[in-house]
Amino acid sequence: MRHIPALALVVASTVLFAGCSSTKLEEKPPVQEQPVAPAVVDHSHDVQTVVAPAQKDDLLTNPALANRSVYFDFDSYVVREDGKPVVEAHGKYLSNHKDRKILIQGNTDERGGSEYNLALGQKRAEAVRKALTVMGVSDSQLEAVSFGKEKPKATGHDEAAWSQNRRADLVY
């Protein structure tokens, strides 16, 4: 009983092999003395595999990187305690991913003129840039710019809205 499956396998493989070629097993294949043109192979049915770069970001998946805004107090250009974890998470990521570059966009609330607010927003972007540099992020990965009061997150005209708009956004 034990031999039957093994025998069956041998028979089957022989039949299979025989089916592939008309050459008898005892016959040797002809030896080519002369170089010949390589056989034309149709590759149109080939399928090659691409391995997607393991989302070189944890940007999408790492919850620590989900927060990209650092908020500031009125008339202040110093990163607050609640902004430090945000800066640290991105600083760590950028230190480990030297190929990534970001824009740090500083923002202000709506009070005052557009150009002076642009300069004040720049101070916020610069504060975040410096904090990232301290963490070892290369200057070439960072560009501090300002939107001034032109890109409010909240459109109201009260302190609740303004506090949302005094911020720096990290833009990958």
Partner: protein, 423 residues
């Protein structure tokens, strides 16, 4: 044939729709000069031939200026009509404007006008202008300019143009309009903010800051050819363009050093030169009319104040001392008056500062004034303000007496800049 007619009607109505959508700004006058010259302005003979009514445009210009009291004549009078001076004197007119419109064989319009002094019974001025139909408004503004100059001694600037930014829905537009808010054209449409438009001295180009590339970059756009040149796109922010009076350079604010500082660049890009060297904020440069100095905003003393330095950079002299927050310096065409925005008791107000005697005058009352801009004859300042929570433009004479507002039907209007006199 019928199909063709229908499609051309559709085309025409489509055009009407677009012209309407581009509709002019609405003017509201809320203050006039303390003395007004009574002037009778007759309808011009055959003026209905032209696309716009010339006499109506002249009347609106002079009325808006605040220095004229318009007397309606009720009748059309051409430059050849007989004038009954005694009659006009009895009606209180010091001056009388008459004229005519003629359509020439080549389709252009010939507009003739005369300005008459009723008391002296003489002609003060008069000329004929021939131009294409599209320039009928311009012709009327030029006549109003001439009347204003002959009767007040100051050049009229009705024929100059405005540039400003509108925001409606998610769209920003840099627009150019006549000084009365009519004849609106889009120079740039964008889904990103546009700020700080600045006219070239010859009035054919506008420099501005666009955020279309995720950061502020300074462009110069030729309004005629619509060619755009990037004049400042350095690492960091690029903003606050101001033309040198000879058009060769732009002063800009850049952040290459980490803080906002003033540099100059060539008007066609390149030629970077740093002009200020403080650790803080130096921005909003403006050349003096003689090109020798630059006024700017700096926080080197703590809060923002206005300073003045040589156009080549170097040491600066502080100009403003009243108030702890003064920004956005604009210098009058004669170099004698400085306009700026001062925060007093939390209110952002427009002030005019007489540089010859250091007297300041508050010109706004709403408390959210921004972006002042002198008219080219120096007699008015236009600025951005809010009305009913929406951005509008206000115009005030430098003595504070004449006031009017320009509003849009929808959306916000901001960042006004009054263009220069043109050839």
């Amino acid at each position: 044939m019928i199909k063709r007619l229908v499609s051309s009607i559709l085309f025409v109505s489509g055009l009407t729709c677009c012209v309407f959508a581009h509709a002019q700004l609405r003017v509201e006058i809320s203050g006039v000069g303390s003395t007004q010259i009574p002037i009778a302005i007759a309808s011009f003979a055959d003026e209905n031939l032209a696309p716009q009514q010339v006499s109506a445009i002249i009347k609106a210009d002079l009325d808006r200026s605040g220095y004229f009291k318009i007397i309606d004549t009720g009748t059309a009078m051409s430059e050849t009509s007989d004038i009954n001076y005694a009659d006009w004197k009895a009606r209180g007119a010091f001056d009388l404007v008459v004229g005519s419109v003629q359509r020439l064989a080549d389709g252009r319009y010939d507009v003739r006008y005369r300005l008459l002094d009723i008391g002296r019974q003489t002609q003060l001025s008069g000329f004929a202008l021939t131009d294409i139909a599209d320039h009928t408004r311009l012709t009327a503004h030029k006549i109003a300019d001439d009347i204003y100059q002959k009767l007040t001694g100051i050049p009229g600037d009705f024929s100059t143009r405005l540039s400003y930014v509108t925001k409606s829905g998610g769209e920003y537009k840099l627009q150019v309009a006549d000084s009365d808010g009519e004849n609106v054209h889009d120079a740039l449409r964008s889904i990103a903010p546009i700020i700080s438009p600045s006219w070239s001295p010859d009035g054919t180009k506008v420099a501005y800051v666009s955020f279309e590339n995720r950061k502020p970059i300074v462009y110069v756009q030729d309004l005629v050819t619509k060619e755009r040149t990037v004049v400042a796109n350095y690492k960091g922010s690029n903003s606050a363009p101001a033309w040198s009076p000879d058009s060769s350079k732009l002063a800009v604010a850049l952040t290459l050093s980490g803080s906002t500082q003033i540099y100059s660049v060539n008007a066609n890009g390149g030629g970077l030169q740093r002009l200020t060297n403080s650790g803080g904020i130096d921005t909003e440069p403006r050349f003096s009319p003689d090109g020798q100095s630059i006024y700017f905003t700096s926080d080197r003393s703590g809060g923002p104040q206005i300073y003045k330095m040589s156009a080549g950079g170097g040491s600066a002299q502080r100009i403003t001392f009243k108030g702890d927050w003064n920004t956005t310096p604009r210098i009058s065409p004669d170099g004698k008056t400085l306009a700026y925005i001062s925060r007093r008791d939390g209110q952002y107000q427009l002030y005019a500062f007489d540089l010859t005697n250091s007297q300041e005058l508050r010109l706004s009352d709403s408390g959210d004034a921004e972006a002042p801009s002198f008219s080219p004859n120096g007699r008015y300042i236009m600025y951005a303000t809010k009305s009913g929570g929406r951005g509008t433009l206000a115009v005030v004479s430098i003595d504070g007496s004449v006031k009017h507002q320009l509003t849009t039907q929808m959306g916000e209007i901001r960042e006004p800049t009054w263009g220069p006199f043109m050839k």
